[in-house]
């Protein structure tokens, strides 16, 4: 499963994209799994305002995922 990061989240993790081979059942479990990668990962993945999209649609922690999905984590948007 492809996991993307954008904006300040991308910069803090120094990571644009990773591949998760056997993803957990939902977004909450994925966040917990990624949070174990290190201190910054823990901080970022526990940010209260962190947004998540599955297949380019915003969703919440309960969203179920499979290995063919594309997940993205990013901070609140600031365009316009």
């Amino acid at each position: 499963m492809k996991v993307l990061f954008f904006g300040q989240v991308r910069e803090r993790l120094a990571t644009q994209q990773i591949s998760v081979t056997s993803p957990p059942q939902n977004i909450l479990l994925l966040r917990q799994e990624l949070a174990e990668r290190g201190e910054v990962w823990f901080e970022v993945l526990h940010q209260r305002d962190l947004l998540v999209a599955v297949n380019q649609t915003l969703c919440d922690d309960k969203q179920e995922i499979t290995s063919t999905d594309e997940v993205a984590f990013f901070p609140p948007v600031t365009g316009g």
Partner: protein
């Protein structure tokens, strides 16, 4: 540059590095719409200050694919809510200098109130839903712009507000 036009050509979305031509966008809204009597356009520019800090430029990051999808969805919501003739949205990405154009939102409608409402609705949703992120340059420092509660509040106004019945709209 990616451009997305729906079947009816009523919605036109573009996310691009290049600058846009406000006149081209305006004329495209005006063309072949003899029953649309009102055109409202919004352009956002890079300002020289933000929250009291001098700004010298911006960098705009986005989520390719989701950005276009999100903008088209916002335009569709506006068209479902007001009787609009056409909607055009252009959003730039990449490096921007002072006074550069960032975003264009243009809307045509038979009546002016629908055009004003539709255009402001799109801007309020774009600001809080479309996956763009701004990095601000000020002297030697570069900082990510933080989202504003006031933008979320601006969007939330529309959630509670009922649409004014057509019969009561001014011409």
């Amino acid at each position: 540059m990616s451009e997305q036009t729906n079947k009816s050509s009523k919605i036109n979305i573009s996310v691009q590095v290049a600058d846009f031509d406000q006149q081209y966008e305006y004329q495209a809204l005006r063309q072949n719409h003899c029953s649309q009597g009102a055109i409202v356009t919004f352009v956002g520019l890079v300002r020289d200050n933000h929250l009291g800090k001098d700004v010298t430029g911006l960098f705009l990051e986005h989520f390719p694919g989701m950005t276009e999808k999100s903008l088209a969805e916002i335009a569709r919501q506006a068209m479902a809510r007001w009787p609009l003739g056409g909607v055009r949205i252009v959003h730039r990405i990449g490096q921007l200098a002072l006074n550069d154009q960032i975003v264009f939102v243009g809307v045509s409608a038979a009546h002016r109130h629908a055009a004003f409402q539709g255009c402001e609705f799109i801007m309020d949703y774009l600001k809080t839903q479309a996956p763009f992120w701004k990095k601000e340059y000020s002297g030697d420092s570069a900082t990510w712009v933080q989202a504003k509660d006031s933008d979320t509040q601006a969007r939330q106004r529309w959630e509670s507000k009922a649409t004014i019945p057509q019969s009561e709209l001014p011409e």
